[in-house]
């Protein structure tokens, strides 16, 4: 986790530098007072300095390194479930423009639910179909809000 922390802190520093540089391109000051880059410049500085301070603090803490925490129970299962949800979301975002919400969500949900808990795959099919139809009905029919449509008109 410490390495991840330090990489994150480096990202903040890099982002801060990039924002400061880009703010300069946008224009920090003009004849009318502060330019469009003025506030981003301040925020870039705050982000960069904050990241640098976190970097130093974490490096100093490394000397008094704490014992590594035991891995959580079912860590692999947890990772699999998180990856399944993220994969499902990405799949849905990719499929929706092609198939429309109903088909894209239905298919993705079946795969996602089966992946998160393979023991309940029959339930996964039922739940995916019911959830998709409920949300579609709620938005499209009841609330008259626009839902992505596919080549079959739904």
């Amino acid at each position: 986790m410490r390495a991840t922390e330090q990489v994150t802190n480096l990202v903040w520093v890099a982002m801060g530098v990039a924002i400061v540089w880009h703010a300069g391109q946008v224009g920090i000051w003009s004849a009318n007072g502060p330019g469009g880059g003025f506030l981003p410049l301040l925020m870039g500085l705050a982000l960069g300095c904050g990241g640098a301070a976190l970097l130093v603090r974490e490096a100093l803490r490394a000397r008094a390194r704490r014992p590594r925490a035991a891995p959580a129970e079912d860590a692999a299962g947890a990772r699999r479930r998180v990856a399944a949800v993220l994969g499902g979301l990405v799949a849905m975002a990719l499929l929706m423009p092609l198939l429309g919400f109903l088909l894209a969500a239905g298919v993705t949900m079946i795969v996602l639910l089966a992946a998160t808990d393979p023991r309940r795959w029959r339930w996964a099919v039922v739940l995916a179909v019911v959830s998709t139809l409920t949300v579609y009905g709620l938005f499209d029919t009841l609330l008259k809000m626009q839902v992505p449509r596919g080549p079959f008109g739904f």
Partner: protein, 507 residues
């Protein structure tokens, strides 16, 4: 007299079938998400924001506000019966509430939580009714420098109130303000930081960002745990507290109400902070502090009153200044802006229907919540048995469709996924994402006030020190920053306790 006539007008707005329905719906949904662990008021408000686009502004805000305070009521049920907080503000209720339940006093704990919440909610609404117009009258004299100074002070106070690392909060706040500047420059109309992406020339869609940061990241965290609580199997017993319970709880409820209201007003404060402070105060003033953690009713009554009172307090800066004090009220501010309403001190005169309607709805909503939470407690107990694997697909689909329908854009769905991953990573690394929303919503106002001030003074920063109120606010902000840096005011004790308790509760 103006207050009374305004309030009567507000009741006229709220006591219509449609607005009563939305108030009830909000209270119901609020209680539901308060009861269900794994989804908090912020995620729910972001999920339901797109639903309100087609509603009249009053109905939309009344419903969203009801979800906020409804969640405070519902959260205690799960804390008391399952020892898992339904939402963050009820974390501390687990300590004594669950012990009471184990001793066969679950009904009395639920009863005092609901009745104390009702009392505190009503008291804080009365205070909101009285104090908010006073602040409005004062705020009408504010110019851009005063607004800038107030927001700057608000951000600094937020750094003090955030649980966990202050440095991390600085990073999150800076990121939030920076993201709010992406898109068109408010003065020149030129694009900034868009890298040619036309989809973000108007800035990121607020719904997509919040939905990702809170909705999706919450699902991801819950998927890791798939927590199973120890479900309470004993009988609830009587829901009415005994005379001895009332004697023990009267003081804590009153203290919790006052403390909650005060902390709700402060930037960065809110229900969670209020409930922790209330618990600490009750333990300190108790003659038998050793009873806390072993089923002391004061440990339920005080914090539950405090988290409800904080809701009324947090609406004061929103309704009178147009400035949110926490992430949930920032979302309410976003909802107002989406509805085409300009929040600020003019809201009371320009849109009295919204201003007084929302205040009146708090009185009505509190009564509805008392009915929903006491006689219907059995229904909520049954809902606690609903497993998360049934809930999460529906939440996920709501997030996707809600985000898409907010801007009819597939790009926004990708933004939601990206912010979901960022939110998940930040929360895993103990970053508190709530200040990001506050900064994202307040960022444009902050920039506008700053640039208008400097244009007024032809670029001279002296404008911030020659206007008395601005100078006082900025000196105060600078002093707090200095305190943060030198660590004279050590907030580590509180922060550690808060973070620790939150972590323990989520295990």
């Amino acid at each position: 007299m103006d207050i009374l006539s305004g309030l009567i007008g507000g009741f006229g707005v709220i006591l219509t079938p449609a607005n009563l329905y939305y108030c009830f719906l909000g209270s119901l949904v609020g209680t539901l998400i308060g009861v269900l662990p794994g989804i908090g008021p912020l995620a729910t408000l972001s999920l339901l924001l797109p639903f309100t686009f087609n509603l009249p502004a009053v109905s939309a805000i009344v419903m969203l506000a009801a979800i906020f305070y409804g969640a405070m009521y519902g959260g205690s049920t799960t804390s008391i019966l399952v020892n898992i907080p339904g939402e963050a503000a009820s974390v501390i209720t687990c300590l004594d509430g669950y012990q009471m339940a184990r001793q066969g006093k679950a009904g009395r704990a639920l009863g005092i939580a609901a009745l104390g919440s009702f009392f505190a909610g009503t008291l804080s609404t009365a205070a909101l009714t009285l104090f908010s117009p006073v602040l409005v009258a004062f705020a009408l004299r504010f110019g851009p420098p005063e607004y800038f100074a107030l927001m700057a002070l608000g951000f600094v106070i937020t750094l003090f109130m955030v649980a966990g690392s202050t440095l991390k909060a600085v990073v999150v706040l800076a990121l939030g303000v920076f993201f709010s500047t992406i898109g068109l420059d408010i003065v020149t109309g030129k694009e900034r930081f868009t890298f040619g992406l036309i989809e973000i020339s108007g800035g990121f869609e607020l719904v997509a960002v919040i939905m990702g940061l809170f909705g999706v990241s919450e699902i991801l965290l819950n998927m890791e745990k798939m927590a199973k609580g120890e479900f309470f199997k004993k009988r609830l017993g009587s829901l009415l507290p005994t005379r001895a319970d009332w004697r023990a709880s009267g003081g804590p409820i009153l203290r919790g109400s006052l403390l909650g209201f005060g902390l709700g007003v402060l930037p960065g404060g809110g229900p969670t902070t209020a409930s922790f402070f209330s618990y600490a105060v009750e333990r300190r003033v108790s003659k038998e502090p050793q009873r806390f953690g072993a089923g002391a009713i004061e440990g339920v009554a005080g914090p539950e009153a405090a988290n409800n009172a904080a809701v009324g307090g947090s609406l004061i800066p929103l309704l009178s200044l147009g400035l949110p004090s926490n992430a949930v009220t920032a979302l309410l501010l976003g909802a107002l802006i989406i509805q085409g309403v300009q929040p600020g001190p003019m809201l009371m005169t320009q849109r009295p229907d919204i201003y007084w309607g929302v205040i009146a709805s708090l009185y009505v909503g509190n009564v509805m919540l008392l009915v929903l939470n006491l006689p219907l407690v059995g229904l909520w107990v049954q809902l606690l048995k609903l497993p998360y694997w049934i809930l999460f697909p529906n939440i996920l689909l709501l997030a996707v469709v809600g985000t898409y329908s907010a801007g009819h854009s597939f790009f926004d769905v990708w933004v939601m996924i990206a912010f979901g991953m960022v939110g998940y990573a930040l929360r895993k690394l103990d970053y508190e994402p709530a200040p990001f929303v506050l900064a994202l919503v307040l960022g444009p106002q902050l920039e506008q006030a700053l640039r208008q001030s400097l244009i007024m003074s032809e670029g001279s920063v002296s404008i911030f020190f020659t206007r008395p109120l601005t100078a006082v606010l900025l000196v105060l902000a600078a002093a707090l920053v200095a305190l943060l840096i030198v660590g004279v005011w050590s907030r580590r004790g509180l922060s550690r306790r808060l973070t620790q308790a939150l972590k323990e509760s989520s295990r």
